[in-house]
């Protein structure tokens, strides 16, 4: 589907947001290598057009729900980079208050309904959100993104069938980045034409070039229109590629450097920048300034995250339950008193997070040496 250029201001914003996501992810990778960030870190470098092109096809009252690779989805919905970075740092100002980390970003106010750590776990939830929209009599649409690997999960078949049966307003977007972790598409899915995987379940398929923000936007816009007007789910396959490993601990032995280099020639950000310059929407100076602004924004996010405190040990039990004054009895078992727990917890969080002068964990250095280029 040929994508036409949006209004100049919108075009600049798309480029700026893709650039922000890129610079954010690069810096997150650096912060991970410096042990500011723990756990897993899945970057979406290379996939920015799938994020911005799709999210910009939504209205503000539509819902977006994503996976464990979701920093960009929070950013594109307007969650400040400060709060996304603070979440990665495990701080109180994180968008999930330091409870979720990289895989579990969330911003209810902006209708970003979360990143989910379990492959395919978000599909049924998306259908539930859409059911609520439907029963409330709204015309809201839910955009549910997931990877090619998730298309093999039971929830994929179950949810597409149910969504088609119940005519739920969901755009299922399979972000086909060619690998389920380190297993190539042809080695994990009998049907590699993923847009067709919903056909037998009553969900028609579409496809877009996920390296092209205009094409992604055009196809997702059409899918959103169909879903909103026809009350029928659609599956869209976005063909893309992640330039970095599955996570930071990925030596990338399953693909060649040549293949990665080949895809990098299709990098969606310079491609869109060149297009906008060719069309006279921006000039070289503005293109450069967009990048400088993104870097400055990420600098500020890192500074903010660094200043934000760790959650207090006494907050450990907060929000396990919505507590009701009327209910008696113990909800949670505390095996130690908070007083006893404090020093231990504080020490544990120090150790786990390290600090800027700390050594890089061995598994990370291995991963870096094995393939991360650090750019």
């Amino acid at each position: 589907m040929p994508g036409s250029l949006p209004e100049p201001d919108a075009a600049r914003e798309w480029l700026a947001t893709m650039t922000l996501i890129r610079r954010f992810e690069e810096r997150a990778g650096e912060m991970y290598a410096r042990a500011k960030i723990g756990g897993f870190l899945h970057l979406s470098i290379g996939e920015e057009a799938t994020i911005v092109g799709s999210a910009r096809a939504l209205r503000e009252d539509d819902y977006l729900i994503s996976t464990y690779r979701s920093h960009g989805h929070a950013l594109v919905r307007g969650t400040p980079p400060e709060n996304v970075m603070a979440e990665l740092f495990g701080r109180v100002d994180g968008c999930s208050h330091g409870r979720g980390g990289s895989m579990h970003m969330f911003d209810l106010a902006r209708r970003f309904m979360g990143g989910y750590g379990i492959v395919g776990g978000n599909l049924p939830i998306a259908a539930g959100i859409a059911l609520a929209s439907d029963l409330k009599g709204t015309d809201e649409v839910t955009l549910c993104t997931f990877g090619d690997g998730a298309s093999n999960q039971g929830t994929f078949g179950e949810t597409l069938n149910l969504a088609a049966l119940w005519k739920l307003p969901v755009v299922f977007m399979v972000t086909n980045n060619q690998f389920g972790m380190g297993t190539a598409l042809r080695r994990h899915s009998a049907v590699t034409d993923l847009q067709r995987k919903g056909e037998s379940l009553g969900v028609p398929g579409m496809r877009c070039d996920g390296m092209d923000v205009l094409d992604t936007h055009a196809v997702i816009s059409e899918a959103v229109r169909r879903v909103r007007e026809d009350r029928q789910p659609v599956l869209v396959e976005a063909i893309t590629y992640r330039f970095r490993g599955h996570s930071m601990a990925d030596p990338e032995e399953y693909r060649t450097k040549e293949e990665v280099a080949q895809w990098r020639t299709r990098d969606p950000i310079p491609a869109f920048g060149q297009l906008l310059m060719g069309e006279g929407v921006i000039d070289e100076e503005e293109f450069a300034r967009i990048d400088v602004d993104a870097i400055a924004r990420v600098d500020a996010a890192v500074a903010f995250a660094d200043r934000s405190p760790f959650p207090a040990p006494e907050s450990l039990y907060d929000d396990v339950y919505v507590l009701d004054d009327q209910v008696r009895g113990s909800y949670s078992v505390r095996t130690t008193s908070p007083e006893e727990a404090d020093p231990e917890l504080a020490a544990a969080s120090e150790t786990a997070q390290g600090d800027s002068s700390g050594e890089i964990p061995e598994q990370i250095t291995t991963a870096l040496q094995a393939g991360e280029d650090g750019s």
């Binding site: 979720g100 309904m113 776990g121 539930g128 179950e158 929000d319 919505v322």
Partner: protein
């Protein structure tokens, strides 16, 4: 008060809450046209329509997940899983999602979801259809677990579950659906969570019965009183999370002895948990170790004579109570 069956009490709770709150939606396999595998939802489709009483495909994990998502954005879904055995297919949505979303997203989203399902052995359904798994759900922070025994509690607790802001695992019992009891007619007379029911007062030994075992324990207590002159205090916790430990500890302080009876397996079971809590918090009150009467530590066999001895009955409870009172030798009752 009105006399009705446990299943009718549940049906009435659902009907009243569907009427009271338009956000309440029922979903489940065969709950609509068929009326529910155990007829709990009978008549509700006709009364409330297809939008609110929804037959689902056989897709347990997804049904629960749809409940999670719709609860996050404003509905009050009540999902029926045909039996607890099939909840194992939905464990990802129950544990990783329903239970954790409020916490892992920093308190922003709530999941006011009820997942109803019956459990229990005794119908020769073999290993895959006879589970008692309350301990699995009890294990998970973020879930509330209700185990109603009487018709009144079935209704009162279900109404509370639907109005609660947390995900509630509501465990019914297949053998109790037909049991009659007195049920309050007032639609606003709820049974609050975290309030144990003292089924019978006594001063010699405390017997805590979980789910159907509260009834079996009550019968055992009657036998103990009539045949041995032993006065057992029988407690039905009604909810395992939140747990009314105070009532149990107060009883133990009086009787100094405690037997916990459950239909599920012994290792990591409800009784194991209660025994730990009681010994941690009331060790000085105990004159004997807490004793457990549990289901046998085996997959449930089909053959009737084997099935019969694989879950607790009244004589085992009587024996356990007498044993910790030193009135009879302790046999291998637990496990």
């Amino acid at each position: 008060m009105a006399q009705m069956r446990y299943r009718e009490a549940l049906n009435q709770a659902l009907r009243e809450e569907l009427t009271r709150d338009e956000r309440v939606v029922l979903m489940g396999e065969d709950i609509g046209v068929f009326g529910g595998a155990f007829k709990v939802t009978e008549g509700l489709l006709e009364e409330f329509g297809e939008a609110r009483v929804r037959d689902t495909p056989i897709s347990e994990n997804t049904i629960v997940g749809v409940g999670v998502g719709s609860a996050m954005t404003g509905l009050r879904p009540v999902v029926e899983l045909m039996t607890i055995n099939f909840a194992l297919l939905a464990f990802d949505q129950i544990v990783n999602h329903a239970a954790h979303i409020h916490y892992m997203f920093g308190g922003q989203a709530r999941v006011p979801l009820v997942v109803r399902m019956p459990q229990g052995a005794g119908h020769q359904l073999g290993p895959t259809h006879s589970h008692c798994l309350e301990a699995l759900f009890l294990h998970v922070p973020g879930l509330l677990v209700a185990v109603p025994t009487t018709a009144a509690d079935a209704k009162g607790l279900l109404k509370t579950a639907i109005r609660d802001e947390n995900p509630v695992i509501f465990i019914e019992h297949e053998s109790l659906y037909g049991v009659r009891g007195e049920v309050p007619e007032d639609a606003e007379q709820l049974v609050g969570f975290g309030r144990a029911r003292t089924v019978r007062e006594g001063s010699d030994v405390t017997i805590v019965g979980i789910s159907r075992m509260a009834l079996t324990a009550e019968r055992a207590a009657k036998t103990l009183a009539e045949e041995r002159g032993v006065e057992a205090e029988v407690i039905d916790p009604r909810t395992l999370r939140p747990l009314d430990l105070d009532t149990i500890l107060a009883s133990v302080a009086k009787t100094n002895r405690c037997v916990v009876v459950e239909e599920g397996w012994p290792h990591g079971g409800v009784g194991a948990n209660l025994a730990a809590l009681i010994s941690e918090q009331a060790f000085d009150d105990l004159d004997a170790p807490v004793k457990r009467v549990t289901g046998a530590d085996v997959p449930m066999p089909y053959s009737k004579p084997l099935e019969d001895i694989a879950y607790p009955h009244e004589p085992q409870i009587v024996h356990a109570a007498l044993a910790i009172l030193g009135l009879e030798d302790s046999g291998g009752t637990a496990g």
